[in-house]
Structures are given as structure tokens and as C-alpha cells.
Amino acid sequence: MNPTNYLYLSAILFSIGAVGVVVRRNAIVVFMCIELMLNAANLAFVTFANMTGNLQGQVMAFFTMVVAACEVVVGLAIIVTIYRSRRSASVDDASLLSR
């Protein structure tokens, strides 16, 4: 099977994740959509590794996974801190700067 199909899938998943980040209001779901986008990028990396016949893309995907894990850890800690002080996990309620 032609590996470009994986690239199409990756593009579609990335776009879905982008919609989710903008449309959803729950901060945790927004984070999950960011994860989806990172995963889509990983799929593209792995596919390119397969197409070019070397492992550089896989190493990049590996690094992306580590960075994504860091991002999730810090992001969720921020969400918990905001939730503790404001009793809400909605991204609309954290609007102190606008007032």
C-alpha cells in the first residue's frame, strides 16, 4: 500500500485536533486535542521515515513524544491549579486579564 495514505490520515487528524482546540471549552478536552495534533505529526514523521528509508524520522517522533509528555504534565498541573482557585476547568472562565 502506498504510504502517502498515512500522510493523508495524518493531515485529517491534525485538522480535527485543530478544530477541537478552538471549539471545545473544557481545558482538559483542549489538551486532548493538542495531543491528537502531536500524534498526527508523529504519524507523518514515522511515515516519512518509512518513505526515505532511514530512521531519522522515528527518532524525531520519539523526541516529540517526550516533549508531549512534558507538556501534558505541566499543562495538567496548571489546569489543576486553576481549578483549585476558580472551581472551573473551562477556558472561558480564566479571563482575569481582560478586566
Binding site: 485536533g17 471549539v23 528509508g53 522515528q58 505541566v74 489543576v80
Partner: protein, 247 residues
């Protein structure tokens, strides 16, 4: 395999946006991640596939579910759009973006037939990746490990609640405070729940000697959560209403 799993993956990803409850989104995302792991393994990346399952569906999704439980499992999202027309603009834009990406991929000339990883994986996929990470990218690897440690420290600092470091009162100080409090009536301690009551559940108030239910007998945590039963209906019948008579 691809034509079975890829539409399912896209459906799960779309469903992630449509379902109301965050827990269902997490489950669907876990499905997407497992499907991606299968795609990795199918593309001669067994190491990344296993790492994907262990790190993403294992650690990251567990962290997500853990935080969901902390924040409240039924923290359903209001799907009302707060900015007018945001949803339409977002969907149109990302559809256009997806179309642009797919047309780019379709028109791209990759210059060669896909080579496959048979030669790169000759000594095994793990050895190949280790060769790259620990030789060419060893500096990036070290930096990323520092990033991971920093993230862990940052999470600890952010999640640390100052409450736990508050100085606790000594037993003697508490005893003194009880006797010098507003009422000597509670000096011997608050009435226990269900002591003179008709039930012995913790959310059922104790009855005082005059037959009145006592709010003090219910733990304040339950009262704050709103799990308390109505105390009035536990009052004994046929007893003089002392409070009302005094007034």
C-alpha cells in the same frame, strides 16, 4: 488493515469533538492512540509503536483520567459557543487547511519510490534508533532529559498545595480553645452523628436530649458537599418546641 482502521480512527477523532463528557473524549482518544500505535508497527517502527502504547495510552491517558477525576468526572462541557460564529469559522478554516495539506501531499513529488526500512532495520529497529539517539542526537537527548526533569519539578511546584504546610494546633491549644469558645456546651466535643438518632449513618443528625436534631453532629465536609439529609424531619414528635417557646 489501513482501510479498516483509518476510517475508525477518523470517526473516533471526530467523535472526540462531538461527545459532551470529557471522559468519553478520553476513551476515544485512547482508541485513536492505539490505532496509531498499530500504524507505527505496520510501518516498521515497532519500538515507537510500543512506546506509543506505553507512554500515551498508558501514562498520558491515565494522567488525563486522573485529572478528570480530580476535577470532577461529570465536568461536561457546555457546547454553547461563546464567541459568535467561532465554530463555523473554525470548521471552515480547518477544512480548508486539510484540503490544502491533502492537495499538497497529492501533488508532492517524493522523487523516489518509498524505500522501506528493511536495510535501516537490518540490525533491529531498537538498535537502529539507539544508534541515532546515542551518537548523532546525544546532545538533543540530554537536553530533552533535562526538559523532562524540569517539567516534573514544575508540576510538583504547581500541584503543591500550601495547606499541607500549615502549622497544626497542639492538643493542649485545642483543648483550651474549646473551653474558651463561644459556648461551653461543646466543650466535651461535638455530638457524634447518630448517637441518639434513629439511624446510625453519618449523614443522619444526632438527636439532642430534648428531641431536636443537631446540625453540629454532621461532619462539615458532608455539609459542604451537600450530601446532608434534611435535619428537620428527624425531630421527635410530641415534644415541646423549646426554642419557639423561649421566643
Amino acid at each position: 488493515m489501513f482501510w479498516v482502521l483509518a476510517p475508525l480512527t477518523v470517526f473516533a477523532a471526530v467523535g472526540m469533538l462531538l461527545v459532551k463528557k470529557a471522559v468519553y473524549s478520553a476513551i476515544l482518544l485512547a482508541f485513536v492512540m492505539i490505532a496509531l500505535a498499530i500504524f507505527y508497527i505496520a510501518q516498521d517502527a515497532p519500538f515507537l509503536g510500543i512506546v506509543q502504547i506505553v507512554v500515551y495510552t498508558g501514562a498520558v491517558m491515565m494522567l488525563f483520567l486522573f485529572i478528570l477525576m480530580l476535577v470532577g468526572v461529570d465536568s461536561s462541557d457546555s457546547l454553547v459557543e461563546t464567541i459568535k460564529g467561532l465554530r463555523g469559522v473554525a470548521i471552515t478554516t480547518s477544512l480548508a487547511f486539510a484540503a490544502a495539506l491533502t492537495s499538497l501531499i497529492a501533488r508532492a513529488e517524493f522523487g523516489q519510490e518509498p524505500l522501506g526500512l528493511a536495510s535501516a532495520n537490518a540490525n533491529g529497529n531498537v538498535e537502529g534508533i539507539a544508534n541515532l539517539i546515542f551518537r548523532q542526537y546525544v546532545w538533543a537527548f540530554e537536553v530533552i532529559s533535562a526538559l523532562l526533569i524540569t517539567a516534573a519539578l514544575g508540576a510538583m511546584v504547581l500541584a503543591h498545595s500550601p495547606k499541607s504546610s500549615e502549622a497544626r494546633l497542639s492538643q493542649r491549644a485545642r483543648s483550651v480553645a474549646r473551653f474558651r469558645g463561644a459556648s461551653i456546651g461543646t466543650a466535651a466535643g461535638l455530638p457524634g452523628s447518630g448517637v441518639f438518632a434513629r439511624h446510625n449513618a453519618v449523614d443522619v443528625p444526632a438527636l439532642l436530649p430534648d428531641g431536636k436534631p443537631s446540625d453540629l453532629s454532621i461532619p462539615s465536609v458532608l455539609a459542604e458537599r451537600g450530601d446532608v439529609q434534611e435535619t428537620k424531619r428527624y425531630a421527635l414528635d410530641g415534644l415541646p418546641k423549646l426554642d419557639e417557646e423561649d421566643k
